[in-house]
Symmetry: D3
Amino acid sequence: MRIAVCPGSFDPVTRGHVDIVERAARLFDLLYVAVLDNTRKQALFPAEERVAMLREATAHLPNVCCESFTGLVVDYAQSRGADVIIRGVRSPSDCEYELQMAGMNRELAPGIETLLLPTSPAYAHVRSSLVKEVAVLGGSVDAWVPENVSRRLRERLQAKGGAGR
Amino acid sequence: MRIAVCPGSFDPVTRGHVDIVERAARLFDLLYVAVLDNTRKQALFPAEERVAMLREATAHLPNVCCESFTGLVVDYAQSRGADVIIRGVRSPSDCEYELQMAGMNRELAPGIETLLLPTSPAYAHVRSSLVKEVAVLGGSVDAWVPENVSRRLRERLQAKGGAGR
Amino acid sequence: MRIAVCPGSFDPVTRGHVDIVERAARLFDLLYVAVLDNTRKQALFPAEERVAMLREATAHLPNVCCESFTGLVVDYAQSRGADVIIRGVRSPSDCEYELQMAGMNRELAPGIETLLLPTSPAYAHVRSSLVKEVAVLGGSVDAWVPENVSRRLRERLQAKGGAGR
Amino acid sequence: MRIAVCPGSFDPVTRGHVDIVERAARLFDLLYVAVLDNTRKQALFPAEERVAMLREATAHLPNVCCESFTGLVVDYAQSRGADVIIRGVRSPSDCEYELQMAGMNRELAPGIETLLLPTSPAYAHVRSSLVKEVAVLGGSVDAWVPENVSRRLRERLQAKGGAGR
Amino acid sequence: MRIAVCPGSFDPVTRGHVDIVERAARLFDLLYVAVLDNTRKQALFPAEERVAMLREATAHLPNVCCESFTGLVVDYAQSRGADVIIRGVRSPSDCEYELQMAGMNRELAPGIETLLLPTSPAYAHVRSSLVKEVAVLGGSVDAWVPENVSRRLRERLQAKGGAGR
Amino acid sequence: MRIAVCPGSFDPVTRGHVDIVERAARLFDLLYVAVLDNTRKQALFPAEERVAMLREATAHLPNVCCESFTGLVVDYAQSRGADVIIRGVRSPSDCEYELQMAGMNRELAPGIETLLLPTSPAYAHVRSSLVKEVAVLGGSVDAWVPENVSRRLRERLQAKGGAGR
C-alpha cells in the first residue's frame, strides 16, 4: 500500500486544488490532504474551517482523508506512514520554490520523495491569494472555488466587514 | 498494481538519470524506463546501445524494465498499462518545458498523469548534452555517468575519431 | 486609424494563434497577420501554404489581412503603415525572448511599439513544433489546430512519408 | 474610439512608468492612468498624492487622464468604457505574474484584454520599492523618478523622520 | 590591492554563505563580509550577533573582515575602498533580483562592479528563511548551518518560546 | 597577481561583450579573452577573424590578451594560470545556463571559480545571433557592434551573397 500526503495552506481550497487532489487520489492507495496549521502566518480561515471546506469538496473521493497538522511536513508524512509528498505546480516559479523545498525535505527525511503534479491548464492562473483579493473587492469567484467555499468566503468577509469595500 | 513509465533520450544515461530511476522504482510496482527511438533526431548512441547501458546501470532494481519505443509517449504508456509518466526535473526551465508537454499529453490521453520528480541537488547540473561535449573535448566524465557508460563513451568517440580533438 | 502587424512562422497556424488574431483584431482597425518567409529556416509548409491556411482560419475576421513578408519585421511593419507589432506570449520564457526582440526592434525603429498579448490559458501549452511532432508520430492534433490545418498536415506528412513512422 | 486603462500602485511614479504611459498614450485614443487605492496595503504616499504626482509627470500628454480607483481593475475598466488594460513588463517574472492576472481578469470580464508593454531597457531595473529603499537610506533617486517626485519623496521621508537613517 | 564586500542579512549565516565567503576570499586581497543592519526589517538575530556568528564561522580566513553597516551598500563599499560587490546566486530567480540590484547600484556608483558567484550545488536549496522555519518547527538544521549557529538558533528560539511549537 | 579568462564564441564580438571585457579588465591583473574554436559548431567568422575583431575592439585595454583555444575551458584556464572564469549574464535564463556550466566546471577543476558579471542594461538585449539575423536581413547593426565589426559583417555577408536577401 502506498500512501501520499498533499500538504498546503488551502486558505481556501480552490478548484485547482480539488483537481490536484482528484488526480493524486487515483495514483495512490491513500491520500492525506493536510492543512498546515501555522500559528505564525495570518490566515483568512482558521485551520478547522479549511479542513471542513476540503472535506466538503472531496467528499466524493473515498481514499482521501483531510486533516490539519502542525510542525514539519516530513514529520507529519512519517507519522502517517507516507513516503510521498505531492505538490501541485502551476508555473516555473512554483517549480523553483518546490525544487528548493524538495531539496531541504530530502535532507530532513531521505526516505520521503516529493512529486510535483502539473496543474491543469484551466486552473494554472488560480491562486488562493488572488481569489481572496478578488472576493474582498466584491468580485465573483465562483469560477475558481467550489460552491461551498464561495458561500463561506462571502460569509466570512461580511463578518469581517470586508466585502463591498 | 501501479505501473509507471520514465521516457527519455538517455543518450547516454547519467548518474542523474539513475538516481531518478532508483527513486521512482520505489514509488511504483513496475517501472518501464523507455528510450525514445526517434529516427529524426541525431543521437550519439543507437537506441539498442542506450537500452543496454540503462540495463547495466539499473541491473540492481528488480522492478525496472528497460526498452525502447517509437511513436507517442502516451501511446507507449497505454501499451504498457501505465497510468503515470515520470520525468526528472533539474531546474525551472526544465519544469516550464514539462508543464507544456504534460498539458499536451493530458489532452492526447486524459487518463495518464505526468509526475515530475526533482533531481537530487548533487546532479542538478548534469545534462547528457554537456556530458558528451566534455567527453568529446577529452575531459573526464566519471563523476556524471556510471562506469560502464564512461567506457562506452570513450570507445564510441574513439571510433568516431572525436576524442582528443 | 491604427494598424498592427502580427508576425510569425505559423508553420502551421494553431488554435492558439487564431485566438490571438481574433482578440488582436478587436483592438486595432486593421491587422496584418504576416508569415515570415525565411529561406534559411527549414519549414514544413512553404510560405504560400501557411498564408493560405491562415486565410482559411481567419476568414470570419473582416479587418484581418494575411500575407507573407521577407526581411526585417520592423521594415515590413513600416511598409504597411503599422505602429504596433503584436506578439502572443504563453509563458515566462516566451516573454524573455520577446523582451529581447522588443529591445532590438525598438532601436531599429523607435516609432514602432511591441505589445504582448497573453495566450488564453486553454492554449498555453500549444506550440507549432510540438503539434508537428505529435502529427508525425501519428497522434491526433485536432484539439490544437483548425480543421483545415489538420487535414493539410495529414496530407503533407503522407506526401513526405512521415506519418505512421 | 479605443480606450485603455493603465492601473498600478504608482507609489511613487517612476521614469519607467512615465515611459510606459507616453508610449501607451500614442497607441490609444484615451488612456486612463489609474492609482489603485487599496486600503489594505500600506503605501508611502496617499492615493491623492500619487495621482497628483502622476498628473505633474504626464501633463504634456493631452489624452491621458490620471485618477484613483477602488475595487476590481476590470470593474474600473468597464466603468470607463475601456476594453484594454495596459501593463508594463520589465522581466520574465513580471510576465509570469501578469499572465496569471490576465487569466483571472479574462474570466471576470471576457471582453477586456490585457496587453503587456515591454519597459525600455534603460528602465528595466527601476522598481518603486527599490527606489523608496534607496531614498530612505539617503541615496539620490533623481535618475529613476521625475523631478517633482524626487522632491516630494525627500519631503515625505523627512516628515516621517526616515531620511538619513 | 583589490578589495571586495559581500553584503547580506546573514540572519543567520548558513553553510552556503560560508562556502561563498571562502571562495570569494581566495579571489580578492581583502573581503569585507557585511551585515546589513536594517532597522525596518524584522530580523531573528540582532546585527551584532549576526556579525559574531559570521566571525566564528570565518575565523579560519585571515583576509576576511566581518562587520555591520547601515545605509546604502554602495556607500558602504566606497567607505571600505572596495570596487567589487560579491553576491552568491543559487537559482535563476536569485539572478533576476541581482541583475536589477546591480543595475541600480551601477547608476548610484558607476565605479563599483557587482559579481555573482554561483552557490555550490550542495547548498543551492539552503535559504536562511527556510532554515529558520525548520528550526522553529523543531527540525534539525545541522546540515545547513555551522555548528555555532545551530546552537545559538536553539537558544534564541527557546528564549522566544518558539521551539517545539 | 590574479588572472582571469573570459571565454566565448564572439561570433562576432558585440558592444555588450566589449563592455564586459572593459569592466572585467579593471578587476583582474591580466584578462584573457578567449575565442572557443569549436570545429563542430558552424560559425559565421573563422576563429582567427573573431580574435582579430576582438583585438581591434579591445586595443585600448593594456592588460587584455585575445586569443583562441580548443578543448575544455577549464583546461585552457589552467594553461594560462587563471583561477577565474568570467561570464557576462543578461537575463535569468543566461544565469540558469551559467549555473549549470559552473557546476560542471567546478567538478572538472575545483580550484577554478566562475564569476558572473551582469551586462549593462543598455546591452541586455544584444545577442550575437540576433545581430547576425538583423545584418543578414539588411538592417543596420551599428548600435550593437563596434565599427570594425559592422564593416567586416557587411563584407562577409556580401561574400556569402547573404545581404539584401
